[in-house]
């Protein structure tokens, strides 16, 4: 087993990406797109804000390229056997792979993940199209634009993003895929449901279990004949929308690959309490969930304030579960403060996306499911849309939207690093209004993201949502899962190393392969009862076994072979020693006359035929002229040896 981390990710939008080699198969875990890198491009609609020259200095004024994970690009795609996608964000880079010649891997993702990322990719393609249509094709393409001088003259913040920390990542930039590429990619995805067993190549059993991060997001359990592996991507214990983190299914594996360290910067100096049981763990999660709700409520309150003061609110976010909860809360707050402010959802896929979330109760958390059972809609916005409190439009220039546009209003739209889509236009409109409010998720380089919209007088509310398990809970979780070996990213080293006697951790570094020694586990063999009939006897210590071996669904079976051959074979392996005395006695018994010269280990046979038996250190040599006599003697020798 070999494990290579190709990218350790960052935040919700950029999940980690790894390559795992397990029993000869290359398995790619997630294939994301670094959307935050989009910030180096200038959203050209801003040109009117500035003089041409001034703008050129700050940001790159080109049709955007997209930054993929470098390590994936360096890999020969035809070598990849399996791709596992853990979350909708983990699929955004996949069309780049699937459109590459030679790609033949099997892609597994949950049904919901596939659909949600389909929506995201469609929207991304549409927004990119809109960008191109609005501003026309660029004279320069990305790579023509850059020469060394230009690269050198870039401000360091841009250069870092463009080239990466070690200045090697220019090759990971790609022009966006087309709608056709997306379609083709999705056709290749094999959809599964949670806990469904799928089998790759007869020997690798793959199962997805909910991770709680997002609707359809999952952790994976891989079972090869000799090793059980679980992969934990970003997980949330209890979420208000998606199904809870299913950790029981991941207990007791041979290797646990842990790649969820959401907030590694804080908490490392905290004292750990080692002896908590899992009740506490789950209780904590409940608190966490409450905190999360408080955060959302706070955002709503801020929105109310700014709406009351006549400003509009812009909430660009790509996190479906947060948006869905915010929608419900915002409507409640608007109601309770008796405000008649419309909520607009503007996205090319919003309508379909919202409709989709209404028909997948199987993927939602328990509370939502209970709502479904009691005959209520799983999400309130269905009603709210009917009551005309929420309006859904595909684009900003929809006719109906223009007809009913009013300010102040609350707009929810996709994030796309504030470079594509409605967010750009609305920021342009509101950036100088001090009453307006921008709600942003922490994590993206906010300064750079907001650079084209400066000077900024609108309020900016930066908030962070849980997008993984808190660092201080990790040891507790790991202990509960009881893996025999844990792989954790190296940046968790200072935190986990002191615990190494209770947690068998290995630390992996980006793009450095980590080899695990061959598993000492033995294959489990299922022997059909007619083949193993001799086993009924409990006394039996050893017996020959014959049958046909086949591997199905990751299990080895030994069943009765087709041909039943009549001849019973004698012992094939012998051990022990023949001693001269007993040989001579034995020969006499079967009526063979032989004599032994004193001191030698040779028996001369004289009757019924001439012959010679020689006893050597590890062998017995029989040399007789007659066939039947030879058989007679060899049978005797067998009886004196142990054999099977």
């Amino acid at each position: 087993m070999k494990f290579t981390s190709l990218g350790q990710g960052g935040g919700y939008n950029l999940p980690a990406c790894h390559m795992l080699k397990l029993s000869g198969f290359h398995i790619l875990l997630d294939c994301p797109l670094d959307l935050s890198a989009l910030t180096i491009f200038s959203p050209i609609s801003c040109t009117s804000l500035y003089d041409e020259e001034e703008e050129m200095v700050d940001l790159i004024s080109l049709e955007p390229y997209y930054k993929t994970v470098e390590g994936v690009q360096l890999w020969n795609v035809s070598l990849i056997d399996v791709v596992l996608i853990s979350s909708p964000m983990g699929m955004l880079g996949l069309p780049f792979l699937t459109r590459t010649k030679g790609f033949s891997a099997k892609i597994y993702a949950t049904e919901a993940t596939t659909r949600l990322s389909e929506f995201m990719m469609k929207d991304l393609v549409a927004m990119h199209m809109e960008f191109k249509q609005r501003y026309g094709p660029h004279k320069n393409s990305f790579f023509e634009f850059f020469n060394w001088e230009k690269l050198e003259s870039l401000p360091p913040s841009l250069k870092d993003i463009l080239l990466g920390k070690d200045s090697t990542q220019l090759g990971s930039w790609m022009p966006l895929y087309s709608a056709g590429d997306v379609k083709e990619c999705l056709q290749k995805v094999e959809s599964v449901v949670y806990a469904q067993e799928t089998c790759y190549n007869g020997s690798l059993i793959i199962k997805a279990f909910s991770s709680g991060l997002e609707i359809g997001a999952c952790n994976w359990s891989l079972k090869s004949p000799k090793r059980n592996i679980s992969y934990i991507s970003r997980s949330i214990f209890t979420s208000g929308v998606a199904m809870d983190f299913d950790l029981h299914a991941l207990i007791g594996t041979d290797v646990l690959i842990y790649s969820d360290f959401s907030n590694s910067e804080n908490g490392s100096n905290q004292e750990l309490e080692g002896d908590d049981d899992d009740d506490d763990l789950l209780l904590d999660c409940e608190n966490e969930r409450c905190e999360e709700m408080e955060k959302l409520k706070f955002i709503c309150l801020c929105c109310m304030d700014s709406v009351k003061s006549g400003g509009s609110v812009l909430i660009p976010s790509g996190r479906l579960s947060i948006v869905l909860q915010l929608l419900e809360l915002l409507a409640l707050h608007l109601d309770s403060s008796d405000l008649k402010v419309p909520i607009f959802i503007i996205s090319s896929v919003a309508e379909e996306l919202l409709a989709y979330t209404c028909i997948i109760p199987e993927w939602l958390c328990k509370d939502r499911q209970d709502k479904m059972y009691s005959g209520k809609p799983v999400f309130d916005y269905e009603e709210l849309i009917k009551e005309k409190k929420i309006h859904v439009f595909p684009t900003l220039d929809s006719r109906e939207l223009l007809m009913m546009w009013q300010e102040p209003c609350i707009v929810i739209c996709p994030h796309w690093s504030l470079r594509l889509g409605p967010a750009v236009h609305l920021l342009k409109r509101w950036h100088s209004d001090p009453n307006s409010l921008l709600v942003l998720e922490e994590g993206v380089d906010t300064d750079l993201a907001l650079l084209p919209f400066k000077p900024l007088s609108m309020k900016v509310l930066e908030c962070s949502f849980t997008s993984g398990i808190k660092l201080e809970k990790v040891p507790q979780l790991l202990k509960m899962l009881q893996p025999k070996q844990i792989l954790v990213p190296d940046y968790a080293k200072p935190f986990l190393e002191p615990l190494s006697n209770s947690l068998p951790c290995l630390f992996y570094t980006e793009s450095e392969p980590l080899c695990l020694p061959k598993s000492k586990n033995l294959c489990e063999l299922h022997i059909s009862s007619n083949v193993a009939s001799k086993l009924k006897n409990k006394e039996m210590r050893m017996s020959r076994l014959k049958g046909q071996l086949y591997v199905e669904h990751g299990k080895h079976y030994l069943v009765e072979g087709k041909k039943a051959k009549g001849l019973e074979i004698g012992p094939l392996v012998h051990w022990g020693k023949v001693d001269l005395e007993s040989l001579l006695v034995g020969l006499e018994k079967i009526g063979v006359k032989g004599s032994n010269e004193c001191g030698s280990n040779v028996v001369n046979v004289v009757d019924p035929g001439k012959g010679l038996i020689e006893l050597k250190e590890t062998s017995v040599v029989i040399s007789v002229g007659d066939e039947s006599l030879a058989l007679l003697i060899s049978n005797l020798v067998h009886s004196l040896l142990n054999g099977i």
């Binding site: 806990a195 379909e352 209404c358 033995l522 022997i527 046909q548 080895h556 067998h638 099977i644």
Partner: protein, 686 residues
């Protein structure tokens, strides 16, 4: 170990489906239904047969409900809340959502009829709280050994077939299923599984149904004609399933024909059911599913809820009213009002139980229907029968049984005479054991069981190494195009410490027992007078030449058998057999015969393994022609003998003076059986 199948309900009848399966110590209850035809103790399965003591938690590992029809779930609240079962219960999401509606509806009817209610509203709610909802194809580990999985059954929304597996022994219980897609549901779908037992419904054990489209058209035509003439259409149905299917049909037709006649749903119940259908649209057919984004197919445009005041309102309309079969309630009330008018239409979809008004209407064309002693209704309206039934037909059952090819089949949920016919058909056409136990009967079957053992790497490797053979065609004597790869795994099964089993390769045995391996070998040295042989004279002085000539000949022969002849350091080797020219005048293995200096000696040895191993052939097939070249005929006299030992071997004897060589040849077919003494070089002097 055996699988035991106890049929508590739906054995040779339709109603109160309930089957208890015991496999390897686990007991699973499939369905827990009630019988609509009885109101005494016979309406529920006889649970006392499961456990005399009434400790159902110990007796039953889990309950699996296939769909929400009352004959499959009706007794569940009674079993959990009154009998006290608290173990796990599994059903699909839609079943969990819709079952309470059905149960509550039934409870209300019972109360309405003045019967003693078997369970309360709270009982239903409490019961449903214990249910674990599952998704299709989701693997559910009930406990360490028991695993279950649901497959799409297409009978009603959320209907599923269930697969259960304990220690390698798998069974499938189909519940009700439909192998052909209908208006809103897809066809049943299942993986090819290794099954010991298949329990299938057999409602239509002998019927083969035609396409539904003709009947749909007929239905639409009848309804259209009626409303066009200003008549009212009554469709008595149950709340879930059929109502939605017909409604999709009508709604679609209304759109196409641009009809404005209102379609009504009677009680709030059906409207509410539509809400569930909307949320659970993923469980319908692909075509309906795809409508979710644009307009959910269960968002009926032309459907309104019915108000009692509209009962005698003028003008045409279509009304879906519960319950079906016009067995009482609102549909009966509407029937009373509408039946006397000629322009009205009553459409009866599906089966009607004897004793109901629906049944009376379906059997013949009555002009009067007696409701009770005092009331008699004139029936002047038209009656239209619609035989839509979401059950599979005989062909579907046969297809499923053939597809799954289980070791045994049990038929339930059907009528005895028809089941007998189907049973005979399954036995004769598919050769699968089949039975149809009656209620309370138990049948047993043998089960597949695997012994679990560890397997050493060497064993697995040796078993996975290809063992290619290119057999010659018997007739043409040319290599055929078939490549045989028969891998017979041979290993040694051991029990470590009297407990854990382990399979190892034979090479590992000695290490395991800690002994020293001892070889048993045969040796033989003999002489041939070759100086007289003219053809060999060329290399007569050269031993290597002699061996080389032999090598060529043998390679030629053994190549066909897939054995490799190697020449190494003056030795010829085939498997463990080695032959070389012996220079040692005192060779201890030169046993008998009187040799002279003209003889060239060949010494050979071989392991006892090759002497015994059935697959190795050491009867070297030297062809007559080659004999002649090796031992030229002007010196040697040849004589072909027939069956010397009566075991098919041809014997060729070559004599030159007192010297005789016996060559035993075996026929090809004989090689495999050979446990022979190597023939080559067995030159006996007489």
């Amino acid at each position: 170990m055996a699988i035991e199948c106890l049929v508590l309900g739906a054995g040779q009848e339709v109603g109160k489906s309930c089957v208890i399966i015991s496999i390897h110590g686990k007991r699973i209850m499939f369905d827990c239904g009630m019988h609509m035809g009885y109101s005494d103790h016979r309406r529920y399965p006889d649970f006392s047969l499961i456990s005399q003591s009434g400790d159902f938690n110990a007796a039953v590992s889990c309950i699996i409900i296939t769909h929400f029809h009352l004959d499959h779930i009706g007794a569940l609240p009674y079993f959990t809340e009154v009998c006290g079962y608290t173990g796990p219960i599994y059903m699909t999401y839609p079943t969990k959502a819709l079952a309470p509606l059905m149960l509550e509806d039934y409870r209300k009817v019972m109360v309405g009829r003045g019967e003693e209610q078997q369970f309360t509203h709270e009982n239903i709610l409490d019961c449903m709280k214990k249910v674990t909802a599952v998704d299709l194809k989701q693997n559910v580990q009930v406990d360490k050994d028991l695993q279950i999985r649901a497959y799409y059954a297409g009978h009603v929304l959320g209907a599923a077939m269930f697969y259960a597996c304990v220690e390698g022994s798998g069974i499938v219980y189909t519940g009700d299923y439909n192998m052909t897609p209908d208006r809103h549901l897809g066809a049943a779908q299942i993986d090819r599984l290794q099954l010991d037992l298949l329990i299938t419904e057999s409602t239509y054990a002998t019927t083969i149904r035609d396409s539904k489209y003709a009947r749909e058209r007929e239905f639409l035509k009848a309804v259209h004609k009626c409303v066009a003439n200003g008549g009212k259409v009554l469709i008595p149905t149950f709340a879930l399933g059929r109502a939605q299917e017909l409604c999709i049909l009508l709604d679609d037709y209304w759109e196409r024909m641009n009809l404005k006649v209102p379609i009504y749903f009677s009680a709030g119940l059906t409207i509410q059911a539509n809400l569930y259908y909307k949320v659970l649209i993923n469980w319908t057919s692909q075509k309906v599913k795809d409508t979710y984004a644009t307009r959910n197919a269960f968002d009926f445009k032309n459907v309104h809820s019915f108000d009692r005041s509209l009962l005698d309102a003028p003008g045409p309309c279509v009304l879906f009213a519960t319950p079906g079969m016009i067995s009482g309630g609102f549909s009966l009330e509407v029937f009373k009002h509408w039946a006397p008018c000629e322009s009205n239409l009553i459409t009866l979809p599906g089966y009607c139980v004897a004793g109901t008004v629906g049944h009376k209407l379906m059997s013949g064309k009555p002009t009067k229907v007696d409701l009770d002693k005092d009331t008699q209704i004139d029936v002047r309206c038209q009656i239209h029968q619609l035989s839509f039934s979401p059950h599979t037909d005989a062909k579907g059952i046969m297809d499923l049984v053939k597809f799954l090819s289980p070791k045994h089949v049990v038929l339930v949920h059907g009528e005895k005479p028809k089941m007998d016919l189907l049973k005979a058909k399954i036995k004769s056409e598919l050769g699968i054991d089949c039975c149809d136990p009656a209620n309370t009967e138990t049948v047993s079957f043998s089960s597949t069981r695997f012994e679990i053992s560890d397997a050493s790497n060497a064993f697995i490797r040796s078993s996975l190494t290809p063992n290619f053979k290119f057999p010659k065609d018997e007739i043409t004597d040319m290599p055929s195009l078939h490549v045989h790869d028969e891998r017979v795994s041979e290993g040694i099964l051991t029990r470590v410490d009297g407990k854990k089993l382990k399979v190892i390769h034979q090479d590992e045995v000695v290490t395991m027992v800690g002994g020293v391996k001892t070889e048993v070998e045969f040796c033989y040295c003999f002489g041939l007078k070759l100086c007289n042989l003219k053809s060999i004279r060329v290399f007569d002085s050269d031993d290597d030449g002699l061996i080389g000539a032999l090598n060529l000949k043998l390679s030629d022969e053994f190549g066909d058998l897939g054995l490799r002849v190697c020449l190494e350091k003056g030795r010829l080797e085939v498997n463990s057999f080695r032959v070389w020219i012996c220079k040692n005048d005192e060779c201890p293995h030169r046993i008998d015969g009187d040799w002279c200096s003209e003889h060239v000696f060949f010494c050979c040895n071989w392991s006892v393994l090759d002497n015994k191993k059935e697959t190795t052939v050491f009867c070297w097939p030297i062809k007559y022609r080659e004999l002649v070249t090796l031992f030229p005929s002007h010196l040697w006299k040849f004589q072909d003998g027939g069956d010397v030992n009566g075991d098919n071997r041809a014997v060729t004897q070559a004599t030159a003076g007192s010297r005789r060589i016996t060559i035993r040849r075996r026929w090809k077919a004989d090689y495999a059986r050979s446990s022979s003494w190597p023939c080559f070089g067995t030159a006996w002097s007489v």
